[in-house]
């Protein structure tokens, strides 16, 4: 019993730092770069990924003993595509603005390596509880990373976080000159590059 509890808590923490999907495993880079121009779409994207990840992990875990090895990937893809379609419909119905802002990046969750990677590495080998915990942990790790990157980019490019003014811009009579480049693709790449470098430094320090 206690070993099972240990496993749950270690799985829960793994996604947040030790196996953080973005910084440590370098998975699911497309949405990380594409939707982090502002916080709100990043958070919405994060929730979509958590939803799809949890649902697909549950389904895969339930049918893990019935899977035929060579049809495995096909089953995973079918499951993921179904839940992504549902997530997309939910977004369109309840968050139409975010749905237009995210555009094709919602359906692109289908080919996000995190989800198929977790289905393969965790859900198809573990029981329901561990699979759900793993999905939540990985999804949260992903969402937090997305939000951190988005916060940095939004702050530097518009002086706002979650559309609330933090640094008053020159246009509005303040002192901050918005750094427009952070909103462009180059901002995405450079912020992620610097983020990875910072994480590398921290990990080195910890080891030493």
């Amino acid at each position: 019993m206690s070993s099972n509890e240990n496993k749950v808590s270690s799985t829960l923490l793994a996604g947040l730092w030790k196996e953080n999907p973005v910084f440590r495993l370098l998975l699911g880079m497309c949405p990380v770069l594409a939707v982090t121009a502002a916080c709100k779409p990043a958070l919405t994207m994060g929730f979509c990924v958590i939803f799809v990840l949890v649902c697909s992990n549950i389904v895969v875990s339930l049918m893990r003993n019935l899977l035929k090895p060579h049809l495995r990937i096909l089953m995973f893809t079918l499951t993921i595509a179904t839940f992504v379609t549902i997530a997309d419909l939910l977004l369109k119905a309840f968050q139409p603005e975010m749905s237009t802002a995210l555009g094709p990046y919602v359906p692109l969750i289908i080919v996000n390596c995190i989800i198929i990677g977790r289905a393969e590495a965790c859900a198809s080998k573990n029981d329901l509880l561990i699979s759900i915990v793993d999905a939540i942990s990985m999804g949260t790790g992903f969402t937090i990373t997305l939000c951190v990157l988005a916060a940095v980019r939004e702050l530097l490019s518009t002086g706002k976080i979650f559309e609330l003014t933090v640094l008053p811009t020159v246009e509005a009579g303040g002192w901050f000159v918005p750094w427009t480049a952070m909103m462009l693709p180059v901002g995405a790449f450079v912020t992620l590059g610097l983020g990875l470098a910072i994480v590398n430094v921290i990990c080195k320090k910890k080891q030493a």
């Binding site: 049918m63 035929k68 079918l78 499951t79 549902i86 119905a93 139409p96 480049a181």
Partner: protein, 203 residues
């Protein structure tokens, strides 16, 4: 026979789950489709509402065919803004080439087609931080009250003065020019056609 058995053995899970997933999607879709359609319809109406808050109904009129910037025929969607049975103004969709991609605008003019009330960007793909400032108030406010004659883009001028001179956004001259061109092209042709049809009166 053996082959069929083998086939069923291998793929029953796939077939069953495909059926279940199909059912799941069908149910979700049936539950949400009304809301999604309503959202799509509201997208235009909400923008119109923010431009003419007085109007409480926007009735879609017959489309009018005009020449696009490339001289091909295009249909323009026209809405009539009504409140208490009175015409409050006209709105039309205008589109054309922007800096990066097509820009679609919705433009509102007053009931006699004399003055522009304002415009709103429905869809554009302009460079973030530069071209997409066409939806900022500095640029947009210059259109509110401008006459419905040929608009000119100027690089230096007084943005607060409302006339047919529109001051460009610095760093986004091409996008500013694109909006002016799109509005000019659609508005001037529409004005003539609508006068001909008797939808508006020349005063």
């Amino acid at each position: 026979m053996l082959k069929i058995k083998y086939f069923v053995q291998q793929s029953w899970l796939l077939v069953v789950s495909a059926f279940m997933f199909g059912l799941l999607i069908a149910v979700t879709n049936a539950a949400l489709i009304d809301r999604i359609n309503a959202n799509n319809a509201n997208k235009v109406t909400d923008k119109l509402k923010s431009l003419i808050p007085d109007a409480d109904e926007f009735s879609k009129q017959e489309s009018i065919t005009i020449k696009s910037q490339q001289q091909s025929n295009v249909d323009v969607e026209i809405y009539k803004a009504v409140s208490d049975g009175q015409c409050q103004g006209w709105a039309f969709k205008a589109f054309g080439a922007g800096f990066a991609d097509k820009i679609t605008l919705i433009v509102v003019v007053d009931k006699s087609f004399e003055k522009i009330v304002g415009f709103s960007v429905l869809a554009s793909n302009e460079t973030p931080g530069f071209g997409d400032r066409i939806s900022n108030s500095f640029y947009r406010d210059q259109f509110a009250g401008a006459p419905t004659e040929k608009l000119n883009l100027v690089k230096v001028g007084d943005a607060d003065e409302i006339d047919s001179d529109i001051v460009a956004i610095s760093g986004a001259t091409v996008s500013s020019q694109a909006v002016v061109d799109i509005i000019n092209n659609t508005m001037l042709q529409l004005k003539i056609k609508m006068l001909e049809k008797g939808m508006i009166q020349d005063e």
